[in-house]
Amino acid sequence: MNNKQTVGIGNLIRSEAQRVFKRGRTWAVIAVYLIFVPLECLFLTMMNTSFYDPDHSVPLNSLNTAPFLLRELSILMNFVVIPMLAADSFNGDVSSGALRLALIRPVSRVKMFLAKWAVLGAAVGAMTLFTWAAGTVFGRIFMPAAAETTLMGAGTVGGLGAIGFGLGFYGMAFCIFLALIGVGGIVSRLAPNPVLAYIGMLAVIVGGIYVSDGMAFLLSVSDSIFHFLGHTGGSDAYLGWILCALLAGCVIMGAWSWGRREWMQ
């Protein structure tokens, strides 16, 4: 009697994960990202300086290095990794017709959307966590040693405080990446093929700044998070709320539009 007529979300996530990681290009793009992490570390050792934003530079030491890895890597993430994964997962499956085979079983389309989001979120989350870990370890070993450091938004902190700040920083970054994946889900719903889904996501990232300065965080991830955590005011002061609204909007819009999707067109 407890044999329900629909497929559980756990099974959906498992099958979606199999599909995503079966694609060679998923591994290729992850590998490219992982190659760029040590390159970025090398770049930071050569410079020994990084930037909160174009106007505020900061000397690097063993404690404060971790967040600054994301300054360049987030561009790679937002312009290449996430659009590629999202366009393939949300749109490629559908427009090539491969998803129909998976949908022979009575699968809720809304759950399908959420499962796709969860799998991509987990993959991107793992990469974000890896970046944090790499940055922290790399900073401890190769950067000039310091007992305490000053961070925008955290004041003067010791070793543990720096780790906590790093985690919080990367947590915010992860939320931004999640929101971008959600945007990808909605854009993919509108675009007829993966090419346009990809370009559509870039248009949202770049076009956001023409709409409002509050949307610039998709373009300049690390600068915006520093502004938000440092309470410097300006357009990034409400980043937390904007992110929450964007995430909620993506869940609602995505669930609604995917639920209404006609699969036999």
């Binding site: 060679g24 290009r25 290729a28 793009v29 490219v32 770049f43 410079m47 360049e72 561009i75 790679l76 312009f79 290449v80 659009p83 590629m84 366009a87 393939d88 490629g92 090539s96 007829p192 093929n193 993966p194 090419v195 346009l196 990809y198 370009i199 870039l202 248009a203 770049v206 023409y210």
Partner: protein, 290 residues
């Protein structure tokens, strides 16, 4: 006699003109392309809005201050690296990777046409589309500039190339757009190579965006090492990047700053030849029925 003539004419397969015609029609059959064709006026309006807001912060004596004459150049400088590159990536992804990988191309190959010739036809057709876009953008931005922007008697050109009145300015703009047309051709060759090696359209786009990001990143890293080079060496290295030629190099070419005119032309030609040849090589080696 006439039969003989007919046969010799046909020995190379389908005439190239027919291929061009077919690709041209195939291009315009796409709804995406028809929508993109409307982009020029929209882009001109967006840049006008941006440039007007910039004008508020700039001194009218600067070359960056947008006037009716300089508006087409200023409006193109930012759109060339973003919107035009994006459009070309879409064209390359859709007409090459998508058609080849999904097997649509086989239909066109029922007649005797080699992949190399088809791809050359596609490149020419896409380039023609981009040049039409460029011309439309010039007309739109010139009109928008005339209506909304101040029109002083003379205004300074970039890199101290002198002062220009409105009519001279338009000639300068035309030269700038002609150079932009050349860069578009070279960049399209790069994208066609990427589209030829990309296993799927998303990979093509990812690689294309990656190429653009690297073309931006490497010169930016180079600026940190500025003290190590002589000015001449430095600018030459800096403008090895096609993106930087698009962004700042065209104005430098017109002003012939540090003898960059020939150098940048060489860079553009080099990219075009290198990637054109590599694309040809890929398609020559490839079996049509992979």
């Amino acid at each position: 006699m006439s039969l003989l003539l007919y046969e010799t004419e046909n020995s190379g397969g389908v005439p190239f003109g027919r291929l061009l015609q077919a690709e041209w029609r195939r291009l315009w059959k796409r709804r995406t392309v028809r929508l993109m064709a409307l982009a020029a006026p929209l882009m001109a309006l967006v840049s006008a809005k941006y440039l007007l807001s910039q004008n508020g912060m700039l001194h009218p004596g600067l070359p960056e201050y947008a006037t009716a004459g300089s508006m087409p150049v200023l409006a193109l400088a930012e759109m060339l690296v973003t919107a035009f590159s994006g459009m070309m990536l879409v064209l390359a992804g859709l007409t090459v990777t998508e058609e080849y990988r999904s097997g649509q191309l086989r239909m066109g190959m029922l007649r005797a046409a080699s992949l190399t010739r088809i791809m050359s036809a596609k490149w020419l057709v896409c380039l023609a589309f981009m040049w039409i876009q460029l011309a439309a953008y010039f007309v739109c931005s010139a009109v928008v500039g005339r209506i909304w922007f101040p029109n002083p008697d003379t205004y300074p050109l970039f890199y101290e190339a002198g002062q220009a009145a409105y009519a001279e300015g338009l000639l300068y703009d035309l030269g700038y757009y002609a150079l932009a047309a050349l860069v578009l051709a070279a960049l399209l060759a790069v994208f066609f190579w990427i589209a030829a090696i990309g296993r799927s359209s998303t990979v093509t786009l990812g690689l294309g965006i990656g190429f653009l990001l690297l073309s931006y990143l490497l010169p930016t890293v180079l600026t940190y090492f500025r003290p190590l080079f002589e000015t001449q060496e430095y600018v030459r290295l800096y403008f090895l990047s096609l993106l930087m030629v698009e962004w700042e190099g065209l104005a430098a070419m017109l002003a012939n700053l540090h003898g960059l005119r020939l150098w940048n032309l060489g860079v553009i030609g080099g990219y075009g030849l290198l990637f054109g040849a590599m694309t040809m090589w890929v398609w020559k080696r490839r079996d049509s029925f992979e």
